[in-house]
């Protein structure tokens, strides 16, 4: 199991398109991907778009992502990169 703490850096936050990218990428891995907003102990499935949209995470929101499964390292690397790259958005 791997845990990573990330912060949403793109201007628009986790809006629909960004959330779709996240879910699409997470679904490519075997591992379970769970998200948990810092300071809140409810965890969400990273492979389900409704849960992620429900968070309505704006820029600066920090959360912890837990990766658990046979390809957890690859999953962690790819997803953290997606967030750090601001979902491929310019700002």
């Amino acid at each position: 199991m791997i845990q990573r703490t990330v912060s949403i850096g793109n201007e628009l936050g986790l809006h629909a398109r960004a959330a779709a990218r996240f879910v699409k990428l997470a679904s490519q891995f075997e591992s379970d991907v769970k998200l948990c907003r810092l300071g809140n102990n409810e965890s969400l499935d990273g492979k389900s778009i409704l849960g992620i949209l429900l968070m309505a995470a704006v820029k600066g929101t920090r959360f912890q992502i837990t990766f658990d499964g046979c390809d957890e390292e690859l999953a962690a690397k790819a997803i953290v990169k997606l967030i750090e790259d601001r979902f491929g958005e310019e700002k």
Partner: protein, 319 residues
């Protein structure tokens, strides 16, 4: 899955119930932010007489006609002492019922110890019922889980399983068969009483579903009002697993398993999912089996009984 610690403040109770019970605030205003963390209520009776061990802070205290009659019979000094006793503990608030006027001494201590006094014209039994019912509902332990809650043949069925196993697709198939969607993806569950589990969707997601290839759809818009339900008691949990994750599963119908949550449980069935298996059909039949079981009829056991009978006859003939 996470349990939350729940409480209501006295001011919330006051705001919500002010109209129903005609509540009026009569002192102890500084204590409006006191916490109520239990739906159980108490009567002050014995505490006024000197026995205070049973009092719990965080519960609503009631003072009714019995208590008032008792206080009125006391001499002034004794009454003062009687009124002080309950305040040795951090009380949340005191509700004075039946339109009674609390004694001056009680008001004085309530102010001093910041314990709000709420007056109502309603009699104790009704006020008690109303307030405990409200608190029971509001203070119910809650949790949220990843799954789909459906109403199938009138029963609440929680579909669980890893993402991609086909929970939403099965839910949609069930809707097409005339069953109802309560919530897709995320289900907020609260426990009412000691064992009733009631699930509903988060407001924001209400009646929406996400289906790969179709995107986010609104079930009520597509299928009408009878295809959805706001909340539902959970009667059965069904876990969907990929066939290879669990090749066996129950082959006869004997296994009795339970899904534990919020310190209670619901019957649990596990259905292996594979291409060629119509999960919605299996879910619907699982619900029918559950209904039979509830009435004391075990389809699998019945079959085995017949088998045993047949074998016994065969043995007898041999002998």
């Amino acid at each position: 899955m996470a349990e939350k610690e729940n409480f209501k403040t006295v001011s919330e109770l006051y705001r919500v119930k002010a109209r129903d019970l005609g509540l009026r605030l009569a002192g102890g205003v500084n204590g409006l932010e006191n916490r109520i963390d239990s739906p159980r209520t108490q009567k002050l009776a014995l505490a006024l007489a000197g026995y205070t061990d049973y009092l719990r802070s965080g519960r609503v205290q009631f003072l009714g006609r019995t208590e008032m009659n008792f206080l009125n019979r006391l001499e002034e000094a004794d009454r003062k002492e009687a009124c002080r006793r309950p305040f040795l503990l951090d009380l949340s608030c005191i509700v004075v019922t039946s339109g009674l006027e609390p004694p001056q001494e009680l008001r004085e201590y309530a102010r001093q110890f910041s314990v709000p006094i709420l007056l109502t014209n309603v009699v104790s039994t009704r006020a008690l019922d109303e307030i405990s019912e409200y608190l029971e509902e509001e203070l119910a332990p809650t949790t949220s889980i990843h799954g789909v809650l459906m109403e199938v043949l009138g029963l609440g069925v929680l579909l669980m399983g890893k993402s991609g196993v086909g929970k939403s697709e099965s839910g949609l198939e069930l809707v097409l068969r005339g069953h109802r969607l309560v919530s897709d993806d995320m289900v907020n569950i609260k426990r009412l009483g000691t064992e009733r589990l009631v699930g509903a969707g988060p407001d924001f997601l209400r009646f929406h579903m996400e289906l790969r290839g179709l995107g986010i759809i609104n079930i009520r818009d597509l299928f009408g009002i009878s295809s959805v339900s706001l909340q539902k008691q959970i009667d059965l949990a069904i876990e969907l697993v990929r066939w290879r994750d669990r090749s066996e599963g129950d082959r006869v119908g004997f296994e009795e398993r339970e899904y534990q949550l919020l310190d209670t449980s619901v019957p649990l069935m596990t259905l292996p999912v594979a291409s060629g298996r119509n999960v919605a059909t299996l879910v619907e039949v699982a619900v029918r089996i559950h209904m039979l079981k509830k009435q004391g009829y075990e389809p699998g056991a019945e079959f085995i009984n017949q088998l045993e009978k047949k074998m016994r006859l065969a043995r007898d003939e041999q002998a």
